[in-house]
């Protein structure tokens, strides 16, 4: 009575063994113990994958057993993602990121970086001039929480103290943890907000510029300008550099959405998003380094001169690392 005549079930019986074999190998690869896969299995894998695909085509055309068709579809899809989603090891990925991907992304986005830098610079200068001409501008340019006690009402002695005393009143480590998470958030926001055609990103950059300018102006008003700039400079070159790059990544996304050129808008946005994201991963690294500089170096180094040296040195290193042309090295490493 068992309908031996059913062609589709005979077909299934003939092929089932190779499907099962493919499934076993894929299961091993998916669960990460690729080492337990034997050489024979590795060699058989592409053949098994192609035969599963052809089985799928045949099953779709001749079999009405849903279970078989769905099983084959899922099996082929899993195999496809494993075979074509070539996976490099995490170490190699990280290495490639530092050696190649990050500097390349930074170089590709140099126009956006310049734009981002100009916005910050212009607003720094404007806010500096404004606060110097009328100190009351400070209150409108500096958002409340950031200024804390450092406002025009504070005594010169107190202000000098904040630059050199390390932590006296506010609990330092929680403050720097807060700053670190705050800065990363600002950077990520500047990136993500590029989505809205650059405008919020530009606003973020302008705000950063205003804070910088008015902060330095407050101290310059008491003749502490050089010292205050040094206080900012030691970690600021890294931190502001990171924020500028984040802004550049945001601008890149916004521009690609607004002016997609010859690609469809969606495709253009996702290409920009990927490139921007590489840069953003670098920004996070920079912010962590800035956090370390801010938390430790600034508290340990009290000399303004040395602060300038360290900050300048970091700036120099970042520029060399990110913008030194590398094409020659590529040629050499590819004999």
């Amino acid at each position: 009575m068992s309908e031996a005549g059913l062609k589709s079930s005979r077909f299934r019986k003939e092929r089932e063994k190779s499907w099962r074999q493919l499934e076993r190998i894929i299961k091993k690869m998916e669960s990460g113990n690729s080492r337990s896969i034997s050489d024979q299995e590795m060699i058989a894998l592409p053949g098994l994958y192609r035969s599963a695909l052809s089985s799928l085509s045949v099953a779709r055309a001749t079999s009405l057993d849903q279970s078989v068709v769905q099983y084959l579809e899922s099996l082929s899809t899993r195999a496809y993602f494993i075979l074509y989603g070539t996976r490099t090891s995490l170490a190699k990925r990280i290495g490639g990121f530092f050696v190649r991907d990050w500097p390349n992304a930074a170089q590709d986005l140099w126009k956006e970086t310049v734009a981002s830098f100009l916005v910050i610079a212009v607003f720094t200068v404007i806010s500096y001039v404004l606060v110097m001409t009328n100190i009351d501008w400070f209150y409108s340019l500096m958002p409340g929480a950031m200024g804390e006690m450092r406002n025009p009402a504070a005594s010169t002695e107190y202000l000098r103290g904040t630059l050199f005393d390390g932590s006296s009143d506010d609990s330092l480590s929680s403050f720097s943890a807060f700053l670190m998470s705050h800065n990363s958030k600002v950077a990520i926001m500047a990136f993500a907000l590029g989505f809205a055609f650059c405008i919020p990103t530009a606003f973020f950059m302008a705000m950063t510029g205003c804070m910088l300018g008015s902060f330095v102006a407050l101290f310059a008003d008491r003749g502490l300008g050089v010292e205050a700039a040094g206080w900012l400079f030691i970690h600021g070159t890294t931190e502001i550099g990171a924020i500028i790059l984040a802004g550049a990544a945001g601008f890149h996304i916004g521009l690609s959405l607004a002016f997609p050129k010859d690609k469809p808008r969606l495709e253009s946005a996702s290409a920009a998003g990927r490139k921007g994201a590489v840069l953003m991963a670098g920004v996070v690294v920079m912010l962590i380094i800035a956090g370390l500089l801010e938390g430790f170096a600034r508290q340990l180094v009290k000399s303004t001169q040395l602060r300038y040296t360290i900050g300048g040195g970091m700036l120099f290193l970042w520029c060399i690392y990110l913008y030194l042309p590398r094409d020659r090295f590529k040629f050499r490493s590819k004999p």
Binding site: S2, G85, S181, S270
Partner: protein, 292 residues
């Protein structure tokens, strides 16, 4: 649950997309539905919440044992933990082997690249960086910002912002959220169905004869065959009896004394499938019983 997961459900054509492999076979991938997406996100947020809660329990125990009062460490711990979890939890898991967070794994969905290529780390990073904008920022604003600002208009703007991004996936064809657009990704269903037994292999008892005439087999099409397959696989007696009675009535089949409904359905399934598959070989796909 294992019973339910065996049930093969139909493909929803609205969620099926074509992905043609280099070998030229269309894999007909399935997008995850928005319910699964929201569910997975909810599970992930619950996990993050649980981790923070656990760390604080442990911290509280240590704190109580040492008897010192140091709120600063607690503040640092909380700030860093919340920052790292919300920024890197999703990214770390999606870069990993499963291309899915624990919530997505549980609901059997995964992130893939929209162009069918491999899912790169930058794509995952940017799709999750957007989360900050889509969810965490407005959440923070609605929870804290709205209260201090105490401005109704700002609050309204925040709510609108939140809703725009929250419902974004419902208003485009591919259920993309803003992060998917920027990252060039989408979220697919990734079920791992087991290969169930072939129903036409079932051995029927010898004492009953099932001989269906071609007219009797012509009553149904492929859709009904698939429903029948589900009914037999689910193996729920009441349904089987009801369905068997319907079919008998429709094709005019006299129920024998020793005939069991389950055997009847199996036999009819085999017969119907054989006929429909033969038709398919000759290029005729009879969609359902209305398709003549």
């Amino acid at each position: 649950m294992s019973q339910a997961s065996r049930v093969t459900n139909y493909k929803e054509p609205a969620l099926t997309r074509s992905l043609v492999t280099p070998e030229g076979v269309d894999l007909r991938i399935q997008l995850a539905d928005t319910g699964a997406r929201f569910g997975a996100f909810f599970i992930d947020m619950a996990i993050i919440g649980a981790v923070i809660f656990l760390v604080f329990i442990v911290y509280g125990i240590i704190f109580a044992a040492s008897g010192q009062s140091d709120s600063e460490i607690g503040a640092v711990l909380f700030t860093m933990l919340w920052f790292f979890l919300r920024s890197f939890y999703f990214t770390a898991f999606e870069i990993g082997r499963y291309a899915a967070t624990p919530g997505k794994l549980l609901l059997k969905i995964r992130v893939t690249s929209r162009d069918g290529g491999r899912l790169t780390a930058p794509a995952v990073f940017s799709r999750n960086a957007m989360r900050e904008l889509e969810f965490f920022l407005p959440l923070q604003f609605l929870l804290f910002g709205g209260l201090t600002e105490s401005s109704g208009w700002l609050y309204l703007a925040g709510t609108i912002w939140f809703c725009v991004f929250l419902f974004f996936p419902l208003f485009n064809r591919d259920n993309l959220r803003a992060g998917d657009i920027v990252g060039g990704t989408w979220v697919l269903r990734a079920p791992k169905p087991i290969l169930a037994k072939d129903l036409s292999d079932k051995v029927l008892p010898d004492n009953v004869e099932f001989d269906f005439t071609p007219e009797q087999l012509k009553a149904y099409g492929i859709h009904e065959l698939h429903v029948l397959e589900d009914v037999i696989r689910n193996n729920d007696l009441a349904t089987i009896v009801a369905v068997a009675d319907r079919i008998r009535a429709k094709i005019g089949w006299e129920k024998g004394a020793k005939e069991k409904s389950r055997d009847f359905l199996s036999a009819y399934y085999s017969g119907l499938r054989k006929m429909l598959e033969t038709q398919m070989v000759f290029g005729k796909r009879r969609k359902d019983k209305f398709d003549v």
